[in-house]
Amino acid sequence: MKRVTVKYFAMFREHAGVAEETLQLEADTAMDVFEQTRPRHGCREPLGHCKVAINDRMVDWSAPVAEGDTVLLFPPVAGG
């Protein structure tokens, strides 16, 4: 188990009811964090429509997650 801080944005934040929370997760990769927090962020989109950052760096879904990391979960973006 790892202690991971997860940050939710936009529709994810509204679904979770919090902007961030610290969780104990059995997660090796960013994808694991996303999948295990589905009930929190409530995403109904394919993973590929979302983006993820670890400690303020954009990463691939396969990026490893370490103890104490902050994982930012971004719903499909729609700027402009």
Binding site: M11, R44, H49, F74, P76, V77, A78, G79
Partner: protein, 147 residues
């Protein structure tokens, strides 16, 4: 130069900042808040950005545009917060010696900004509903998530 702004974008100041005696072409793009989206009457929009990464990625897009198209300068500002119909949500300006590079670089910047930056848009509708807008490239899979 890429910037996130929580107050009105000053289009005239941005354009004035692009003066360069070697520039033969200025192409600009403005994303405006319009009163309709996919059949819904829209009253206003709210933009949310995760600013640290939006700025990093925005600067990266600007650098790519300069490298790929060899333009003299490219600038973009993107709004956050509540915007009324007709307001400018995003402004892109590119100067180049000739128009082809200016058009292509301007188009590149706005396309990439829309698809890569952690920025989200919530629409407020005339019927009282509101909904987050999905990215264009996801549009075939999911529509608005109404609250």
């Amino acid at each position: 130069m890429f910037r996130i702004k929580s107050t009105a974008i000053d289009v005239e100041a941005l354009r004035a900042g692009l003066g360069n005696p070697a520039a033969g072409a200025l192409c600009t793009f403005e994303g405006l808040v319009r009163n309709e989206n996919e059949g819904h009457d829209v009253l206003k929009l709210e933009y949310e950005a995760y600013e640290p990464l939006a700025v990093t990625e925005g600067e990266q897009v600007i650098a790519e545009a300069r490298d790929r198209f060899g333009v003299l300068a490219a600038v973009c500002e993107h709004r956050t917060g509540l915007l009324e119909i007709g307001e400018c949500a995003v402004w892109v300006g590119v100067i180049a010696p000739h128009r082809d590079e200016a058009f292509r670089a301007c188009r590149y910047v706005i396309d990439e900004i829309k698809h890569r930056l952690p920025i989200w848009k919530k629409e407020y509708y005339a019927n009282g509903d509101s909904g987050w807008v999905n990215c264009e490239r996801c549009a075939e899979h999911g529509k608005h998530e109404h609250d």
